[in-house]
C-alpha cells in the first residue's frame, strides 16, 4: 500500500498520450491498473509518471474484421470480452480464458492491453495470443507498426512496446479449421497459473504456446496427436523457474500434460 509520489496525466487522444509518454522520462501508460498499481504499492519498481488512458474511448472497441477475425482495442476489459458476440464468433477461447482471469472486480477493470504489456509469465493472454498468431499494433510518434505476438514478448514485464510508445490494438486472425484450446494448472480454482498452454490447431498441425515456463511464452509447432505434442514439449529443452507452487521439474512435467490437453480441447467450444 501507500505509493511513492507519481505524476498523473489523462490525455484526450492517442497522439497526446504518445507525446506524454515520449516527453516524460519514466512514464508508463495506465490502463486498468490491475497490475501496475499493485506493483507500485510495493514501491520496488515504480513509474515516475502515469499516463491514464481512460479517456481514449476508441481503444475500448471490439470489432469483427472483414476476414472473420477480431480486433480488440488495448483498453478492452475481460468483462467486455465475456459478453462480446464478435469475440465469441471469431475466437471463442478468449471468452473462456478471460473468464478464468482473477475475479469479477479485476475482470471489470483489467484490460487486454495491460495483460500483454505487463507480461507476467503467469498471465493468461500471452500464450493465447502467441498460439493464435495475433498481431499487435504499437503507436509511436513516428506512426504505428505491427508486431506478431511471437515477437512481442521480450522478457518478464518487457515487450516490444518501447519508451514513448503505446499498444493500441490486438488483432486476431480468423479461426483456422481445428480451433483454439487452453489448459492450465492453477493455484486453486481459476487461480494464478502454475503452468498454462494455449493451442491453435490448423488441420494436422498445432501451434502450442506454453506459459509460466520461461520469461515469455514458448511457441512449439507440432502434430496434433498426444504423443507428438508431448514429444515436442520434451524436445523444447524447457528450463522453467521454481517457486513455492512448483519446482522446475514439476512445471516441466505439467507442460507436456497441459499442452496435450490444450490441443485436445481445441475446437471444443467452436
Amino acid at each position: 500500500m501507500l505509493l511513492s509520489e507519481v505524476g498523473y496525466a489523462r490525455p484526450a487522444s492517442v497522439d497526446e498520450a504518445v507525446r506524454l509518454l515520449a516527453e516524460n522520462e519514466g512514464a508508463r501508460p495506465l490502463a486498468g491498473g490491475q497490475t501496475i498499481v499493485n506493483v507500485m504499492k510495493a514501491r520496488a519498481a515504480a513509474p515516475d509518471v502515469l499516463v491514464d488512458l481512460a479517456d481514449l474511448s476508441d481503444l475500448r472497441r471490439i470489432a469483427a474484421t472483414a476476414d472473420g477475425g477480431v480486433e480488440l482495442g488495448a483498453l478492452v476489459t475481460y468483462t467486455q470480452i465475456l459478453t462480446s458476440a464478435e469475440v465469441k464468433a471469431a475466437r471463442p477461447v478468449l471468452v473462456d480464458v478471460s473468464g478464468q482471469i482473477a475475479d469479477v472486480q479485476v475482470r471489470n477493470r483489467g484490460t487486454v492491453g495491460g495483460n500483454v504489456c505487463s507480461n507476467d509469465p503467469t498471465n493468461h493472454l500471452p500464450p493465447v495470443l502467441v498460439a493464435a498468431g495475433a498481431t499487435l499494433t504499437i503507436v509511436g510518434r513516428d506512426g504505428d507498426r505491427t508486431v506478431p505476438a511471437e515477437d512481442f514478448f521480450l522478457g518478464v514485464y518487457m515487450t516490444a512496446v518501447g519508451p514513448g510508445e503505446l499498444l493500441t490494438k490486438i488483432t486476431l486472425p480468423p479461426l483456422p479449421g481445428g480451433g483454439d484450446g487452453f489448459s492450465a494448472i492453477t493455484i486453486g480454482a481459476d487461480g494464478t497459473c502454475i503452468v498454462s498452454a494455449a493451442a491453435t490447431v490448423d488441420g494436422e498441425r498445432a501451434r502450442v504456446a506454453l506459459g509460466c515456463v520461461a520469461a515469455t511464452p514458448v511457441l512449439l509447432e507440432t502434430g496434433c496427436d498426444e504423443a507428438s505434442v508431448r514429444e515436442a514439449v520434451r524436445g523444447a529443452g524447457l528450463d522453467p523457474p521454481s517457486d513455492v507452487h512448483g519446482s522446475a521439474e514439476y512445471r516441466r512435467h505439467l507442460a507436456g500434460i497441459v499442452a496435450a490437453r490444450a490441443v485436445a480441447s481445441a475446437g471444443e467450444d467452436g
Partner: protein, 184 residues
C-alpha cells in the same frame, strides 16, 4: 542464483580488458545508471534506476574490485540497496585469446533479499537473466565501439540505453546461444 556463460569478441584481449577494467566503462554498461562516483582505485558507487518494464527499481550500489590479474581475470563484488531489496552480486570473468579475438568466460552469483525477493521469487531469475543479457549486449557494443574510437571513453553514466541500445532491440534479446544459463 548463479548465472554463467561464455562470449566471443572480434577484438583483442587488451581492448576487452580495457573496457572491463575501467569502473567508468563498467558503469556505462549497466542499465539506468543515474550517477557514478569513484571512491578509490578499487571502490566505486553508483545510483541506478533499473528499467523493469512496469517501472524502474532504484538502487544504490557499492562496488569493490576484489581481484584483478590483467589482462585475463577479475573479480568484482557489488552490494546494492533499494526499497525493500538488498542485492549482492559476486561476479568474475576470465579472458583468453581466441584466434584474433577474445573469449570471455563469466559467472555471476546474484542474491536478492528483502520484501522484493519475497514477492518476486518466480520472476527474479528471468529478470536477472535479462539484466545480465543487457549488460553483455552493452559490453559487445562498447568493445566494438572502442575499436573505432580515438578519444576518451564515454562519460560516466552513459547507460546502454543512452548508447542506443533499447531493451527491446535485437542486440539485447537476440537468441544468443552463449547467453546466460542459470545453474545451481
Amino acid at each position: 542464483m548463479k548465472v554463467e556463460g561464455t562470449r566471443s569478441y572480434a577484438a583483442a584481449r587488451e581492448r576487452v580488458w580495457a573496457v572491463l577494467n575501467d569502473p567508468a566503462e563498467m558503469a556505462g554498461l549497466m542499465p539506468g545508471v543515474e550517477s557514478f562516483e569513484l571512491v578509490d582505485d578499487t571502490h566505486w558507487k553508483a545510483k541506478v534506476k533499473v528499467p523493469l518494464g512496469l517501472g524502474a527499481l532504484r538502487m544504490s550500489i557499492d562496488f569493490e574490485k576484489a581481484e584483478s590479474r590483467p589482462p585475463e581475470h577479475a573479480r568484482l563484488q557489488a552490494k546494492g540497496r533499494g526499497v525493500g531489496a538488498i542485492m549482492s552480486m559476486a561476479t568474475q570473468f576470465h579472458l583468453s585469446e581466441e584466434g584474433n579475438g577474445t573469449a570471455m568466460r563469466w559467472e555471476a552469483d546474484v542474491r536478492i533479499l528483502g520484501q522484493v525477493a519475497s514477492m518476486g521469487q518466480r520472476v527474479i531469475q528471468p529478470i536477472v537473466n535479462q539484466q545480465v543479457e543487457n549488460v553483455l549486449a552493452a559490453l559487445d557494443a562498447r568493445v566494438m565501439a572502442k575499436g573505432t574510437e580515438t578519444g576518451a571513453p564515454p562519460e560516466a553514466g552513459a547507460s546502454a540505453a543512452e548508447q542506443g541500445i533499447h531493451p527491446g532491440s535485437p542486440e539485447a534479446y537476440s537468441d544468443e546461444p552463449e547467453g546466460p544459463t542459470p545453474s545451481a
